[in-house]
């Protein structure tokens, strides 16, 4: 198991998460796919997925911009798995959600979508 990158999970913005992974400013890309609903009725359980058709991808991230910590999850891809991951996240409020693919040479590509939350997921 790799050491948990607590630093990246403390980041409060998309730019800070990119810095934590040593990646440059992300560029919008049609080769990255974000799966998320338009409206989440319950912010405690929001299905989200990240997929890409780009080659040489090292990390795949799911980010929720307005959460207390922007980074939700990081997946390290390998030759043995499809670069396609689905999970469920919490969202405190309506926010832009990002799917990011970081390549071996530190370039970042993203897809984003606004997800409206009608009931927050942080117990507040």
């Amino acid at each position: 198991l790799a050491a948990w990158n607590g630093h990246a999970f403390e980041a409060k913005s998309v730019a800070d998460v990119m810095k934590a992974f040593g990646a440059g400013a992300p560029a919008a890309s049609n080769d990255v796919t974000l799966t998320a609903p338009d409206i989440a009725e319950n912010g405690a359980v929001v299905p989200m997925g990240v997929a890409t058709t780009l080659p040489n991808v090292k990390h795949m991230l799911i980010l929720v911009e307005k959460n207390p910590s922007t980074l939700v999850a990081k997946f390290d891809t390998s030759d043995a798995v499809e670069p396609n991951f689905l999970t469920r996240a919490k969202m405190g409020q309506s926010s832009d959600v990002y799917a990011v693919a970081i390549t071996n040479d530190g370039k970042a590509f993203f897809a984003k979508k606004e997800v409206k939350v009608t009931l927050g997921g942080c117990g507040g």
Partner: protein, 103 residues
């Protein structure tokens, strides 16, 4: 110890689609209890997957992953009878590993 994970691995077009449901509180550390005291963070930080003993996936999670986390991914070239093992570790150092056979 926490409850076992529910893992389903189904072969599909030469690959195996793995769906995992873990049993974990995933406490963010931001919530307050009835007495107004902050509930300490308690969440899964690391997840790994093995295919027949070889690591194929590593993930790091923050507290924003939903309670009782769900994960779906696809293992290339995995066929019926292969073993898929999933491990997680949380920020209190607790760990759990469960295994399933591809069907």
């Amino acid at each position: 110890m926490s409850d076992p994970m529910r893992i389903r691995a189904q072969s599909q077009g030469g690959n195996a689609v793995v769906r995992v449901l873990m049993s974990h509180e995933m406490e963010t550390g931001l919530r307050k209890d009835a007495a107004g005291k902050t509930v300490p963070a308690w969440h899964i930080t690391e997840v790994t997957a093995m295919h027949n003993g070889k690591q194929v996936l590593a993930a790091e999670w923050g507290p924003a992953v939903a309670k009782n986390p769900f994960l779906q991914f696809t293992v290339k070239g995995a066929k019926a009878g292969d073993k898929i093992a999933i491990s997680w570790k949380d920020n209190k150092g607790d760990t759990r590993t469960d295994e399933a056979v591809v069907t």
